[in-house]
Every structure is written in C-alpha cells, then in structure tokens.
Amino acid sequence: MSSFQGSSSNANSMSIPQEEFIVRIPRDTRRKFTMMKMGTGSALDFAKLGDQPVKIERENNLKEYKTANDLDLVPKFGAGSEYGKDLKEESRRKKYGIMLKKYNPEDQPWHLKVGSGKSAKRYKGVREGTITENTSYYIFTKASDGAFEAFPVEEWYNFTPVVKYKYLNSEEAEEEYSRRDKTFNYFSIMVKKRLKKEDETLDEDEKDTKGKKKGKKAKDLILTDKDDWDDMEMSDDDDDSDADKDEDDDTNKNKKKKQKGGPKKVVKNSKKNSDDEAVEESDEGDFDDKEVDYMSDSGSSSSLSDLGEEDKDKKYDEKGVDQEAGLRNILDSDAEDEEEEGEKEEADEDMDDKDEKKEDKKKEDDSSSSSSEDDSDIEKDAKLASAIFLQGGKKEKKDKKDKLESSLTIASETKTEQRIPTPDKLKDKSIKRRAETPDGKTPSLKKHKTDDNEGITEDAIRRYLMRKPMTTKDLLQKFKSKKLNMTNEKITHVIAQLLKKINPEKKTINKKLYLSLKKPE
C-alpha cells in the first residue's frame, strides 16, 4: 500500500479528483452515544416508523436487587420494623467486609417499545461489555459545514425482540423434527401443543389442589410425643368411667398375657410333634396343660374358660396380634394397650357376644342368638351375669381372684353394651358378623384379617364419632397413632372412603368441620 504511505503531495501529483474533510471533536460533548445492535435481520427501521411513538425505559430490577441483598424486606416504620436495622446491617456488612454494589438504574437493560397498544413491538437491550474494553469506536457524522464530527461510542447494547407468542422449546422441536415425515399438517403442531399445555395446566391445577390438600393433611398429621397422645387419649376417654378403663386395662392385660403366650406356644408346638398338638387341642374343658403354659397371677380365666371351639380362633387371634406386636415392638406395653383399645374392645365384644350366645344356647335351647340380642339390656345383663356366675360356680377350681376379675369383666361388658345400647344396632352388627362368617367361622379370625389389612374399620370410626364430635384431623390422628403399617395417604384414603359410607353429621365450629354421629336412641 504504497499509496497510503505516500504523503499528500504524492496524491496531489496524481491529479485524481479528491475531497478533503476535516475531522473534529464536537463542541457539545454532553451527549452520550450508545450503539444499538438490533440483531441480524431485524426489520426495525426507525426512519420508516412514521409517527409511531417510540418509548424506551430501563428495566426495573430494584425489587430483585433488594431481595437479593436482603434490603428493605421489613418495613422501616410501624409494625414489624426494627429500630436501627439498616445501620446494624451496614455495620455487620462492614465487619464481614461485604461490599454491597449500589443499585444503578443506568446499568439495567433497556426496554424499547415501538408503537402503542397491543400491536406494540418490544425489544430488550442488554449491554455488551466486551466490545469497548480494548477498542474505541467513534461515530462520524457530517456537520452542517461539511466537516466530520467524531463522537465516541460509550456503550453497546444488543437489542432483541421480546417474543410473546408460544413456540416449541428445543426438546419439543426435536421431537417434532424427528417425525417430520409423518406430519401432514404443520399448522396443527402448535394447536396440539396448546391443547396439551391446557391439559397439563389443568392437571397441574388439580395436582396443586391435591397437593395442597395433601400438604395440609400432612401438616395436620403432627407427630406427637407419646405423652401428648396419651393425654389426648385420656381426654377423649373422659366420658368413659374409670371402672371401665380399669377393666379395659385388665382385659388388655389378659390379652397381653395371651400375646406373650402366643409365640411361646408356637415355639413349643414346633418342637413337639403334631400328634401332641392335636391331643392338646382336642381336649375340651381340660385346661390343665394350658394353665401351666399361661401361669400367671391374673390368669385369663374368662377367656380360657370359654368353650373349646374358640381355641382355634384364639390361636389365629394370637398369631395376628403377635404379628402386630412384632410391628410395633418399639412401643412399651401401656401405650400399646391404649392404642389397641378400640380393637380390643371390639374383640371383647365379639367374644362376649359369643359367650352370651353359647350360654343362651345352653340355657334356653329354643331361643336363637338373634332373639337374645334383641332382648333388652337389663335382661341381657342379668343373663350375662347369671351365665358367668354360673360358669364360675361350675368351675370351682377357680380362685377368688378370677371371680373378681370376671365380675369386673361383666362390668365392662355392661358398660360397652350401654355405650351402644340399641338393639337394632347390635342386630346390625351381629348380622354383619354373620355375613362375614358364613360358614361358621368365628368372626374374630376374619376380623383380625381385616385389621391386618386396614386397621381402620367403619365401626371404629362410628364409635369415635359417637363419643364426641371430631374433625377429620382428629380422626386421622387417632388412626395414625395406632402405628398401623400404612402410609399416611392410605390411611386418609381409607378414612375418607369409610366416612363417605357412614355419612356423619357435619357441623362447623370455630371454622373447623366437625363430624359427629348421634347416639341412636
């Protein structure tokens, strides 16, 4: 490029038409020049806009800045404000050497709006930092006197149109591209996407509400300490008499014994040969060997004195309970007793009913079991008492303790009967039980099976609701605390199903929905 190296005189000598322009620094340097890179192929041309309004503003990131730096999150005055919080924060930052960058609106991206209303096009300009670092650009404009004015460019902004319409994201586009040969109508792609989106949002909404519910329920299901729960139990059982409670405890103890005996027995059986076992089982009314097995102070006399048919069931029963015990061996026995109360009561009732029936059959052969249940409470109680005392009388080897206990049992029985006094209800129950046991199998077996499966029965819920109004939360708590081998969701699900079946009365007290059942008159 010798021509460039040549001086002006050289150029002059060639006598080529040439123009000379003076380049000067502008007189007014207050203007700050910015380069707007509008992006390749952008159709925006300011010269052809006509009289469309063009507005520009800085993106307001003040809120983001504040939240990012924990500034002004609490009010400065009035409620919730702390005295001297700002100063303290500042001193804290100073102490730890945190330099807070000041918020500068000049550093925020531009928002350019061309046109107005809905047809407005929007652009966002983000500053490009690297260009001006090592190079300097100048704008040369022609001044009125023919000279060039050189304005320094201080900043570069990259303007990109803000996309408002929906488009396929990279994954979706990939998917669509992969089946591009199979697509007939490309217009339907976006429609399909929109439909899908709507579905999803709907689903999400549902999920959201569900999630909320679940969340709420999960929140409701507060894990309480055992003590807390005991307290709750106590308060719940306030309406029950103390005697009843004691009784329950006693019966539970009995059960406990049996439970403890259960595994022992199983082990024994496994050691012994089957013949022996058969002999033992077949022996009716002869409880000597068993008594040795269960040797204890209280003795499970009443249950043991029951008729032989129940032995088998008991065994199953024990197994079931044993399994349960295995599940929750963490708990100490008392808590377990309390928790199992409901089930036990049921079982007791069952057994009592059985006893009753048996005795009835013995006493008055012609009367059917259902009719006996139709009888009034007092009558029944009397019968019961007489039956049991008769029994006691029959077996004179029983000591006093046993008798006392049995009387206590009676008390409890009468109590339970009083709690559910309707004959109709009892009848219902009995019918149900019979329905459950079509081929003479005892209900307790079945019952336990269901308990293992669910642990939540309609009866149990009914019982709870009859005792006092409860919220669903309370109910959940009840079953939750039973430490059933179920997930929370399953428990709630089962309860919800059962509640639907029961359809209890609903009442809102203190903005909480209480469910209750009237005690049938």
């Binding site: 707007m36 041309d45 010269a47 003040l62 009035g78 409620a79 702390e82 001297g84 704008i139």
Partner: protein, 275 residues
C-alpha cells in the same frame, strides 16, 4: 433517592427525527482516541482525504491525524466541569506530528446498527434532571482506521511498552533522618469523650419512662435493650423492670434479643395513641 430511582425507570420518549441520517462507525486506534479525549471541544483532530483513482473502484481514503498534543486545553467531563489536568501524571508516550492512517471502509452487512444518544440536562434549582433520548442515525458504513507501520509507529509502540513495564513503586535512598512516632492507642482527645460517657443515668418516674417507651414503640415494633437505654436514658435494670411489664422479649430467630410490646398494648394498624 427512591424518587430518583423511580424517575430513572420511567419510560421516555425517543426522538426519532434524525433516524434517517447515515453515520459512519469508525474503529480508532487507542493512542488516537486517548489523544482525542484530551482535546478541547471543537478541536480539529484530523483530515480525511477521499480520492477515487478510477470511477468504478473503491475510493482510497487516507486519514491524517493532526498533532493535537499542544492544543490540549482544559478537558471538560460529561457534566461540563473542568477535569483536573493530567500534567502531574507521568506523561504517556504520544505521537508527535501529523501522521497518515489507512482508512479501510467495510460494509455493515446485515447488521442493523442504530446510534442512540442520551442528553442529560439538569433542571436548574432542582436536584433532578431530564434525559433526552434520541436516535442519531443509522450506521451506513463501517471503517477501521489503521496506523501505517513505520519507524514512527514502531517507536511509539516501543515507548508504550516501556511505559507499561516501568514499576510503579521504586526504591528510593533516604539521606536525611526520618521523623517517626511511636503509635499511641489512646489520645488525649479520646479521654474527654470517655469521661463524658460514664455519666450516670438516674431513674425517672415510671410513668414518664413508659410514655417514652410507648412513643418509641409507635415508631418501630422491635427494639434492642441497648437502643432503649439510649432512648430513655434509664439504668438498665430499671428499664428491664418496666419492659418486663409492658413488653415481650423475643428469644427466637427473626427478631432475636429484641423487645416488642405485648399484644394488648399494640395499635400499629390504626396508628392510635398508645397511652
């Protein structure tokens, strides 16, 4: 401040009257731009000579930079204030005399480059300013101003490198005795302040203290004991005694170790008089 920020985010009209104007975007070597920045406004810094050797071919453009080092006047910054002269600083190596540059013109291609200018004008008497934003034109031509590598340019580069490599701090031999003082922890001026501080606080009437407290709690909800001591000027045990009556002490996270009024004394929502 916040109002100012609000204003900074206001949408502004863009003046697009000059949008049709075509401008050149010129990349300028650094030493030139540094020179130009120190120039007084309106200085002529160079000359563009455009010649067309043949009709069809591209024009040859030569940019001749003038020697502006003598013309450097008081430099105005963007606010129109005179910037301190840089004469005290070690002088940067600059090109002396006029010099020719290659001026290579390229097309913008499909890049859409628009020039925008911001003109801040302060409103006299007020603290705020108005900002005029206008589109100054569209880039129609890009150009690069290349220095021609000759001895002069090489010398300049050499000087620049040398200037860059001179260490900023150097060892200096001291010939005279340097007066040095032993550092003192506590100056006499501090002493006075200390004695003032130990002034004993006396107990005031309980009613009055409570009034002060209620007034304080009207302004903010949470207070530290230290701050309250400063506000009420009461001895700490006495103050705590009163605080226990009317306030709760927060021991947990969000407002730890702070006092707030007991709920029965609060009137934050309605801003009622708390008495």
């Amino acid at each position: 401040m916040s109002l100012d920020l609000e204003k900074a985010h206001e949408p502004r009209d863009v003046d697009i009257s000059a949008a049709g104007r075509g401008v050149w975007l010129v990349k300028v070597p650094k030493y030139l731009s540094e020179q130009w920045k120190t120039c007084a406004n309106g200085t002529e810094v160079g000359k563009l000579r455009i010649s067309k050797p043949r009709v069809s071919s591209k024009p040859d453009i030569v940019f001749t930079s003038f020697d502006v080092s003598k013309k450097a006047g008081p430099v105005l910054d963007s606010n129109g204030l005179i910037m301190p002269t840089t004469s005290t600083l070690p002088k940067k190596p600059t090109m002396v005399g006029s010099k020719n540059h290659k001026f290579i013109v390229t097309n913008v291609g499909n890049q859409n480059l628009v020039v925008m200018s911001q003109l801040k004008t302060e409103i006299p008497g007020k603290d705020t300013y108005t900002e005029r934003i206008s589109v100054e034109g569209k880039v129609v031509q890009r150009a690069e101003c290349h220095p021609i590598v000759d001895d002069q340019y090489k010398q300049l580069k050499k000087d620049q490198v040398q200037a860059q490599n001179t260490p900023q701090r150097q060892v200096k031999l001291l010939t005279t005795i340097v007066q040095s003082y032993k550092p003192v922890n506590d100056h006499i001026s501090n002493e006075e302040r200390k004695t003032k501080k130990v002034e004993k606080r006396s107990r005031a009437e309980k009613e009055k203290v409570m009034d002060v407290l209620f007034n304080a709690f009207e302004k903010h909800q949470f207070y530290n004991v230290k701050d309250l001591v400063g506000i009420t000027k009461q001895p700490v045990p006495y103050l705590k005694e009163i605080l226990k009556e009317i306030c709760n002490y927060n021991m947990t996270a969000p407002h730890k170790n702070m006092w707030e009024l007991k709920p029965e004394f609060r009137h934050y929502k309605s801003h009622d008089e708390t008495t």
